[in-house]
Symmetry: C2
Subunit: 164 residues, 2 copies
């Protein structure tokens, strides 16, 4: 996995997209685990070299409003890599990150964020705010939006439909 990620820029477009989809599929499986535990289904995978970290939304399970999947992935990756600075990391998340998570990605100097469906109500990677590419902040992040968008959107819509 790490080797494929490192070779990304030289790889043909088809393989690049395929790799993003692989990690997003894993994030969707983690989101399902969150739903099974009573949380909104959101999952995240962080990849930095050979290190791959997986996390799911645990807001209700803990309970803790800061326990979004992306936050848990960033904290775990920093522990494993023994550095708060994650400049080589790409984070995959099923939904566009909120303001907190986007701010955390900037704080951790993440290189790239890949998300599934947009969040028109609270998204901070372009929808409501663009924290990850804000000209006044000290770091900007490459954004790839809409990877497996239909599947990630359907997963969230299914969850909220069941809840009503």
């Amino acid at each position: 996995m790490g080797a494929r990620i490192r070779g990304r820029t030289a790889a043909p477009t088809f393989e690049m997209q395929s790799t993003d989809e692989d990690f997003m599929r894993r994030a969707i499986a983690l989101a399902q685990q969150a739903e099974d535990a009573g949380d909104v289904p959101i999952g995240a995978v962080l990849v930095s070299g050979d290190v791959v970290v997986e996390a799911k939304n645990e807001k209700e399970a803990r309970p803790d409003a800061t326990a979004h999947a992306e936050m848990l992935a960033l904290a775990q990756a920093a522990r494993l890599l023994r550095s708060w600075r994650l400049s080589d990391a790409t984070i995959y998340v099923t939904k566009e990150p909120c303001v907190m998570c986007a701010g955390a990605m900037v704080a951790a100097r993440i290189r790239r964020v890949v998300y599934g469906c947009p969040d028109p109500k609270g998204g901070a990677a372009g929808s409501v705010l663009d924290v990850v590419r804000h000209p006044a902040l000290n770091h900007r992040i490459e954004v790839t939006a809409g990877v497996l968008e239909a599947e990630t959107a359907a997963q969230l819509q299914g969850f909220f439909r069941k809840r009503r």
Copy 2:
């Protein structure tokens, strides 16, 4: 402490300001502990009813970019109160919160944030962004700025001067 907080709205202005300063002084002491441990001196106190939670910046100590004082206070308070929703809470922090922390305060539905000195480079309670009073987000937070501003600014300036 909890009782004084609950009676805050009926108390005369002098007492109200005094209470804010008391908690800010405690936050300054926590910031000193962060500096002693090799971190940028930032401290936070969260007050919700009788529950008072204290935290310091632990970004370098862990290491973890998400381990800002405010984030640790929010997570600890949620565990203690067994709820991610902290609607009665006031959070005191020595420096204006960053985007991540301001977003976390919105996510936790914090009632009020009190900070010491502004952060013109990254502050998200009015300086660079105003996340805590953003009209498009689902919660807005009362802001009291500049409590013990000179002391909190001097603490940070002293730290960065020593580092150069």
